[in-house]
């Protein structure tokens, strides 16, 4: 099995190269990159200075020499694959480049955002697992009861409607109309002046709505998965045997059926790694939270390609490692599984 996981780890390399090549090529082919932006800026500067220049100059504010220097600076002067190679070499040395928009190192921009996404990610994870597993068990044991049916409605609404839409609704009703919660962001304006206990309360107060939106998104799938697998196992022969032998029903559920039902939950556990760190840009956008997701979204919209690629490197590596972690989790909890 060790050989299997080593092979899986090695397979990360071609997949990672494939992903980054694809996005790199797309960012190169698309117009509107940093050089076009600088030209536009220069043109605006020219017209605002009211320079009485000729029509030809008006069209092209920068000299060919300047444009060539800019291209060299951003690495646009070489064929795509050559500059991809240079970019990759820098990445391997741990340098993700500088943002073409803010001229900050990409590493630092990402590092600033990670704690925020991590905060929401871990809280969501705790909430989802803390609520879904008990709820799924309760629903399976009381299948087709009133409790099961009423919670099913909530679960299905949460499953059908995406989390960010629930977020917009919560924000409109609870923050704007009834003014119970703040209108987004993570801290109030006077946050630096508050004493520590108020600061904590302030963050928690700002956390409630986004967290609800996050949880609503992944809540339903998990609960139904837990319920359905537990019901499958309850119908299995070994549980019937255990009950027939005189084991109390509760013990049969918790000692036998439940342990096997946690296996499918474990299969998706590794993917949490990437979800926790990268967050959902839609929810972050709705609530105006400066996490990784929003950074990625804004960099795409603003064509800040070093940041786009930097986030891609981080998130795709996490995703690939997460997939392997999931397999590892399965192998750990289920001794029947053998990877070869």
């Amino acid at each position: 099995m060790t050989a299997y996981f080593i092979r899986r780890l090695l397979l990360i390399i071609p997949t990672f190269l494939g992903i980054t090549v694809m996005v790199f090529v797309i960012t190169r082919m698309v117009p509107g990159g940093p050089i076009e932006r600088i030209i536009v800026q220069a043109r605006q500067m020219q017209s605002s200075l009211g320079m009485a220049a000729g029509a030809a100059e008006q069209r092209q504010p920068l000299s060919d020499d300047q444009i060539a220097r800019l291209k060299a600076y951003y690495g646009f002067d070489k064929p795509v694959l050559v500059s991809y190679g240079q970019w990759l070499a820098k990445v391997l040395r741990g340098d993700l480049g500088t943002s073409t928009r803010y001229y900050d190192p990409v590493w630092r921009m990402i590092a600033e955002r990670v704690p925020i996404s991590l905060y929401f990610g871990i809280l969501t994870l705790l909430m989802v697992y803390g609520v879904c597993i008990p709820l799924g068990i309760a629903k399976a044991l009381r299948h087709k009861s009133g409790f099961d049916n009423t919670t099913s409605v909530v679960v299905f609404v949460g499953y059908a409607v995406p989390g960010w839409v629930i977020g917009v609704l919560l924000l409109t009703l609870l923050a704007s109309v009834w003014e119970v919660f703040p209108l987004g962001g993570l801290t109030s304006d006077n946050f630096p002046d508050m004493p520590l206990d108020e600061q904590i309360m302030d963050i928690l107060w700002h956390t409630v709505l986004p967290l609800t939106a996050y949880v609503a998104g992944s809540f339903a799938v998990m609960t139904m998965l837990m319920k359905n697998t537990l019901m499958d196992n309850l119908a299995a022969d070994y549980v019937r045997t255990a009950v027939a032998k005189g084991l109390p029903f509760r013990r049969a559920v918790f000692r036998h059926a439940l342990r096997n039902s946690l296996i499918p939950i474990a299969t998706s556990f590794g993917n949490n790694v990437s979800v926790v760190v990268s967050g959902s840009f839609l929810i972050e956008k709705v609530f105006n939270i400066n996490g990784m997701g929003l950074l990625g979204y804004e960099s795409v919209v603003e064509r800040d390609y070093p940041v786009v690629l930097g986030i891609l490197v981080v998130s795709s590596l996490l995703f690939l490692v997460g997939n392997i972690l999931s397999d590892l989790c399965v192998a750990v909890v289920d001794p029947r599984v053998r990877f070869e």
């Binding site: 071609p14 997949t15 494939g18 992903i19 694809m22 996005v23 797309i26 960012t27 698309v30 117009p31 509107g32 299948h143 087709k144 299905f156 609404v157 499953y159 059908a160 409607v161 995406p162 960010w164 839409v165 629930i166 917009v168 609704l169 924000l171 409109t172 009703l173 923050a175 704007s176 109309v177 209108l183 019901m231 499958d232 309850l234 119908a235 019937r240 009950v243 029903f249 840009f281 839609l282 956008k285 709705v286 990625g296 979204y297 795409v300 919209v301 786009v308 891609l312 998130s315 795709s316 995703f319 690939l320």
Partner: protein, 350 residues
Amino acid sequence: MPRFQLNPLTRRKIRRFRSIRRGWWSLVIFTFMMVAALAAELWVNDRALVVRYQENFYFPTYGAPLPGTTFGLDYAYETDYRDLSRRFAAAGEGNWVLMPPVPYGPYSTDLRDDLFPPFAPDWHQRHFFGTDTVGRDVLARLVYGFRIAIFFSLGLLVVNYAIGVSLGCAMGYFGGRFDLFFQRLIEIWSNVPFLYVIIIISSIAVPNFWILVLIMAIFGWIGITWTMRTVTYKERERDYVLAARVLGASHGRIILRHILPNTVAVIVTYAPFSVSSGIVALTSLDYLGFGLPPPTPSWGELLAQGWTYMSAWWIVASVVGAMVVTLVAVTFIGEAVREALDPKLYTTYE
């Protein structure tokens, strides 16, 4: 006697589907919504249903717009029927206008003196769900937006399934190098953040309906391909395939006549969930402003308006309400189809 007889197995599946009340009623409601959206011009429109003018009847709902001069007005552009209705009523010459229940189209703005939109829901003005921030009726935008969204996701479904089913079948059936190559491709493809790529593409060129469907399909085929591959892979090992091959059936015949009919259950089960994810994807893109160009009526655009103008709670509330009804109905249909095709009779303990 009907010449077309359903397979008894299929009939039993349909009966089982009907016996799942939640799914069946969702299907009824959803079909009703589809029909209502297709006939939207008849009940949500700023053109009148019937105009009685000088002993003549006019039915302006469908067809070329009637200029104002038709009804003795002094302009040659399309008649403003709400205004016409008021004029006829004031003149009292026996002319009348019958407006649809919601007398606003998806693009018509309701402008008033001294007041600025958005207007709250108003039964009297027949803005049942209020207006948006430029004075267009929310209900009209919802209905026409639903029509676009549902055809968008159906179109996307057809394209995705055409690619997914054929490629997935081929991967599962032929296996080997072919399978391995596409496996790697899919792994790479599914890791590319597809919303980013769609945003990049649609920020260069404003997409129209079919271009957007194609862009989404570039990334949408993966799920169904993967499922079809797994299913075909399993079916290929079954004895009936071996028997067909021994009888000398060609690959094409085995796939089309034997394997595909046995995988229909999977395809049908996936369809409702693909429809709902199509609607969600279009709404998300429209919300971000990278979907269909304005002023196309869309739920995402309404949500964006509601988000920027939060005191107009009726905008967000009606969109979310519509989304909940639609998506929950589709999900229930999907669950019922799944249960009908693959009944899992659970044992419950007392």
